[in-house]
């Protein structure tokens, strides 16, 4: 009671319990929370998982999916006998129906691969690809690899050519798996140029213009079918039909 009486006469303390205390502690609280936040952030950053590694093989398979590529599951004879299937016609090309330029290139595994030597064993499917550089650059090779048994059944030799060095291709093989057909190194795209899929640039510092290219060469060394462009050719069935026709193994309709 006595205290109450004393206090009635004194002015009420304006800031001690209100704005003043808040003004003191609010910044401290903000600083503390922010410091704690940054500490947690740094710890999370340090403990974060390593970023996912780029998987070119998976990207190439996704590219094949996008192109509606399906591995040929039917037996070869059934595929060739299907009268409903219409093979994609050849494109025009200066080499079409003429002799395929001969060449010899180094294989990934070190040996030499010569077109004229291979043609002694049978027709050849020659694929020019961009190298292990992007998904669609190599997707055709992944597609061919899935159907390679059908090509072998027809006695065809398949070879892929790019400017990649053999050492580099070996590294990619170790990373993503090797293909079951020869992969050749064409330094400077010299062979690609002969086949009209590479045009060197006249300007210094520029490499030139490269295209995807697929060539079917008869055992007589004649270019029977070609396809070039910015997209890989993934219709293996067409290649099998054309080879069977050239080899006289297409079923009579």
């Amino acid at each position: 009671m006595e205290d109450q009486a004393l206090n009635q006469g004194a002015p009420a303390p304006p800031a001690r319990t209100g704005n003043g205390r808040f003004a003191v502690f609010a910044p401290l609280l903000v600083i503390g929370l922010a410091a704690l936040g940054s500490l947690v952030g740094v710890l999370l950053f340090l403990n974060r998982g390593t970023p996912p590694k780029r998987d070119l093989a998976a990207e190439a398979r996704a590219d094949l999916e996008r192109r509606n590529f399906r591995p040929l599951s039917e037996p070869l004879q059934a595929l060739l006998a299907d009268a409903r299937y219409r093979p994609i016609p050849t494109q025009t090309h200066p080499l079409l129906l003429g002799p395929a330029p001969d060449f010899s290139l180094r294989e990934v595994n070190g040996g030499d691969w010569s077109l004229s030597q291979e043609l002694k064993k049978g027709p050849v499917v020659l694929i020019f690809y961009y190298g292990y550089h992007c998904n669609h650059c190599v997707s055709q090779l992944f597609g061919i690899d899935q159907d390679i048994d059908k090509f072998r059944e027809l006695g065809v030799r398949v070879a892929a050519v790019s400017a990649d060095a053999p050492e580099l291709t070996r590294e990619r093989f170790a990373e993503y798996g090797a293909f079951r057909f020869p992969v050749l190194s064409d330094p400077g795209n010299k062979v690609a140029e002969k086949y009209g899929v590479f045009t060197p640039s006249a300007r210094t510092g520029e490499e030139g213009d490269l295209m995807h290219g697929t060539f079917l060469i008869s055992r007589q060394g004649k270019v029977l079918w070609t396809n070039r462009g910015d997209n890989p050719f993934t219709e293996n069935r067409t290649l099998l039909h054309e080879i069977a026709r050239a080899e006289g193994r297409a079923p009579k309709k």
Partner: protein
């Protein structure tokens, strides 16, 4: 029961999307077929299994001189006499697009190639020379979106801490100790 406008619109959108997907899947370059009939060459131009009418044909002989020209009819066909020498070229124009000239040869009683997928500007002379790096490069180290978000949070928190400290240091004394000043 009449369908609601929203549902009708959705059905239309779905139909348009299906059409777009379908047309993309079937989109392939036109084709030209050639056959030799009684000393005349019959050229048939098709696109997506439909005849291409009014396609302009220019026939060049083996030396590259203009031999004949004309247009395909409503069945996509056009005929011209076989140029002498056995080899010739056909240039086809559909709409505003002039396709790469097709080199043809008479072999026995046939024209080869009998069927051609038309290509556009694949002649090396016609393609722009652009640098297309063909060598493998290791992917540059990149910051993933989640890492980037985390870095932003850390940065923001650190900025708050610094700002808070500045505010605290620069705060006027009279506000800090308002109670003692007033007493």
């Amino acid at each position: 029961m009449t369908p609601s406008p929203v549902r009708t619109r959705m059905v239309r959108l779905f139909a348009v999307a299906l059409l777009a997907i379908g047309s993309k899947a079937s989109a392939r370059d036109p084709q030209a077929a050639f056959a030799l009939k009684g000393g005349w060459v019959e050229c048939t131009v098709e696109h997506d299994d439909r005849p291409v009418a009014n396609a302009a044909l220019v026939i060049l002989d083996g030396q590259g001189n203009k031999f004949a020209d004309g247009e395909t009819d409503e069945t996509g066909q056009g005929q011209f006499p076989l140029p002498g020498g056995g080899s010739f070229s056909v240039e086809i124009k559909t709409g505003k697009k002039t396709w790469d000239p097709i080199r043809l040869v008479k072999v026995d009683k046939e024209i080869q190639p009998a069927k051609v997928l038309l290509s556009y500007q694949l002649r090396p002379c016609c393609r722009g020379l652009v640098k297309r790096d063909t060598s493998w490069k290791a992917a540059a180290p990149t910051v993933s979106p989640s890492d980037r978000l985390l870095l932003w949070v850390i940065g923001a928190a650190a900025a708050c801490a610094v700002l808070g400290a500045i505010v605290f240091v620069r705060m006027p004394k009279r506000e800090k100790f308002a109670d003692s000043a007033s007493s």
